[in-house]
């Protein structure tokens, strides 16, 4: 089984998803379209880690542009025995201390849950996206895979903070990623509509996790919020549209893959992109391009922006009464393989659990195979809640 698309340093202690740039080493994003592309600079998060003495072990395989469920549809997995959720597995096996991943539609969170490790998708714009192969700029976030919340705190403290090279980067100089604040007396809610979407084993994980929280003095209640469903639809529309736009630069002209056969510039574009992208990416491009078209914009993209606001407000309201929201990460606790022709629908369906965090920019922590959502910049509460459960397990 192959973990790395490119191995960099045998002694390295941090792996990065192949959607994150390391200067001079191929960056494929799991796609044939970037074949042979080598970046001229390090991602800001990589720079910050290496400045602190961490070493990058290599570029872990990802699904094409990180758009699939758990990294199952890399171009390279067609030829080799590439591992799904490679970064998460590297962490789970203790090969590296932590890994960096790009969360645009939940893939790193799902892989972390399936490998039994943790992943934090931090608050939007707290970690620089400079050097991230971008898909959906308005909701993607660079996050951290690690075995436990202590390692996440450690790595987040290094990589988070303002970067002038990213125009969206927030000006705050410091964030609090401590995992040991007192959680006794805090309140956590379970969203009924999300709980009901999970199968029995996933439900059991939630119930067990809720019990652990309760024994740590946390109040856990079930509430209803039907807006996650429409929020997911909105994010899938925004995500496909932005991705369609951001990956339109991969046209075979400047770098990466170019088709062998073409007679003119239109054929160069069409053939390169037809041969360079996989079925799922093509579906994303088609849906995204459609929702941005003149006749559809108001009812699709424009409306999704409004839904984003409504869902954001609703979640803010919930999080003014509760310190965190407890949800499943996936509908199932076991991964079942499926054909790429079903991928778009599968990702859409599973997005119900993960998309709210991308849509609204709130932090999401996967730990113990469940997910905790919290207020913007309140990672410390999520990390501390998870840490209280981790300690119980020790």
């Amino acid at each position: 089984m192959k973990y790395y698309a490119t191995k960099i340093n045998d002694k390295g202690n941090i792996a990065v998803d192949d959607t994150i740039l390391v200067k001079g080493f191929p960056a494929t994003a799991g796609s044939r379209i970037l074949d042979g592309f080598k970046p001229l600079f390090d991602a800001e998060a990589v720079t910050r880690l290496t400045n602190k003495g961490y070493e990058i072990s290599g570029k872990a395989h990802v699904g094409e542009f990180g758009l699939d469920l758990v990294g199952e549809f890399s171009h390279y997995s067609e030829k080799e025995n590439v591992l799904c959720g490679a970064s998460a597995e590297l962490v789970a096996k203790g090969e590296v201390k932590a890994a960096l991943g790009v969360d645009v539609n939940g893939a790193p969170r799902r892989s972390a849950a399936l490998s039994g490790i943790s992943f934090l998708k931090p608050t939007y714009a707290t970690v620089s996206r400079y050097g991230v192969i971008s898909t959906a700029a308005s909701g993607e976030a660079l996050g951290v895979y690690a075995k436990d919340t202590c390692a996440i705190s450690e790595i987040m403290t290094v990589i988070a903070g303002h970067d002038e090279k990213d125009g969206t980067s927030l000006k705050n100089a410091a964030y609090d990623y401590s995992n040991n604040i007192d959680v006794k007396g805090t309140k956590v809610c379970i969203i009924k509509e999300l709980f009901d979407k999970a199968d029995e084993s996933a439900k059991a994980k939630i119930t067990a996790y809720a019990d652990s929280l309760k024994s740590a003095g946390v109040t856990v209640e079930e509430i209803s919020c039907p807006l996650f469903e429409i929020g997911n639809t909105a994010w899938q529309i925004l995500m496909t549209a932005e991705t369609c736009n951001n990956i339109s630069r991969y046209d075979g002209v400047k770098y990466g893959y170019r088709a062998k056969e073409y007679k003119n510039i239109d054929e160069l574009y069409v053939n390169s992109r037809t041969e360079g992208f996989n079925f799922l990416t093509k579906a994303v491009i088609l849906y995204g391009s459609d929702s941005l078209s003149k006749n559809r914009y108001d009812n699709c993209y424009g409306k999704s922006l409004k839904v984003r606001r409504v869902v954001s407000d609703e979640i803010k309201k919930i999080l003014s009464s509760y310190n965190a929201i407890l949800t499943p990460v996936c509908s199932k606790t076991e991964y079942e393989s499926y054909d790429i022709s079903e991928a778009f629908v599968k990702v859409f369906e599973e997005g119900i659990f993960t998309s709210a965090a991308n849509l609204t920019g709130i932090p999401a922590l996967v730990s113990g195979e469940v997910q905790l959502l919290g207020n913007h910049f309140d990672e410390k509460t999520l990390l501390s809640l998870a840490h209280s459960v981790e300690r119980k397990g020790e």
Binding site: P39, F41, S138, G167, S248, R249, V253, I265, L292, Y297
Partner: protein, 476 residues
Amino acid sequence: MNMKYELVIGLETHVELSTNSKIFCSCGGHSSPKEANDCVCPACSGMPGMLPVMNKRVVELAVTAGLMLNCEISRYTTFDKKNYYYPDLPCAYQITQLNHPICKNGCVTLKTSQGTRDIRIKQIHMEEDAGKLVHGGNSSFVDFNRTSVPLIEIVTQPDFRSAEEVLAYLNKLKSMFISGGISECEEGAMRCDVNISVRPEGSEEFGVRTEIKNMSSFESIERAIHYEAQRHMDALEFETEELVQETRRFDDTTGKTFAMRNKETEADYRYFPDANLMPIIIDDEWLEAIKSAKPEAIDEKTEMYLEAGISEKEIEMLMSNYNIGKLLDDTVALGCNLKDTATWVLTDCAGILRKDGKTFSDLTITPEKLAAIIKMVDEGKVNRSIGRKILIAVVEDGVDPVEYCKAQGFDQKVDASTIETVMDKVISDNPQAIEDFKNGKVKAKQALFGACMKQLKGVADPSVIKELLDKKLESI
């Protein structure tokens, strides 16, 4: 023709801004590159992982342009992405402004032979330029030097009624932007799309509109308008063809326009907000700072120059180059007389540059140095022709005028008796010249004058020498 027709024209004008760097990266602006692709970075060549970071100066120049055109300045302005595929567009989208442009609802007044007319400005928006394709042999090459060079696009309402008005407007924009330091407006830095329709005179309704894209010379714009207007009128009068709403291109060699694409086949650019660029908020403090740095409106400036006795032709020269307009204004600000300084700049500096085969853009003299020369002349320390000698040394070699003057001994006063002594010696040394002069040869006087000047090393005032010499010769 039986009917009288009226032309209706609206303009979209793209102007390259004079900034030190591109709009979203730190690459040098439009004037720096020499070779293809030597002003390119991962951001402006569309490599993954790079994010656009707004150049603040672009906002300030766009706002300044808006203030000059009497626009409302948006306090909240955002960027959108315009999608299309072309090899000179590395990201396959252009970052531009659709929903919240930086300036709106302006107005500019034109004076032409047909009287005055107010042209309403619909909006001004900021955007990035595309690169260039170079074709050679069986291949095409892409040059990204121009990608992401900042532009403003100024969109007018359909308020023009003739080609003359269009040209008056473009010339006015050009003067305004050059003298205001917004753009150097050199060849290709100002490009126009012309929207044109024709209707029977007196009619309120607009005719079928065509758009002639991307013209950069004023001459082409004028010819294109005349051709297109005639085509529309022929179509209406003689039903030579059916007019359709379409985009056309003007061919300089044939002087004709031809169709590129019509409304049905028009591209859908799938505009949407750019999530990588945060909305820009222009607060009171920033707006005031831009306002106070804004140069005087050219109408007021023209008035001031005319009052000082500067000719219209000279004003045109001053307005056509940012360097000299600024040199004049800054020198005057140091206490020099306006009309006098204008002569130093437009006659003396221009002459020196012309002699060296250079243009105003090559002029590097600082206002401080020019003011120092003018002051030396005004205070009678040196005469004007010496002043000009100093100016030549300053323009050509960049010397310090005061030090140079001292080193050359120009500042030593020469009194009349010294001149007389020298003159007597010249006369006694040149008996033949005196003889010739007595015989009525005018040239002889010239030779004596030259000999005196040589002896006095060009230090004494030539007019004084001439006067004294005349007296001497009369008395002989």
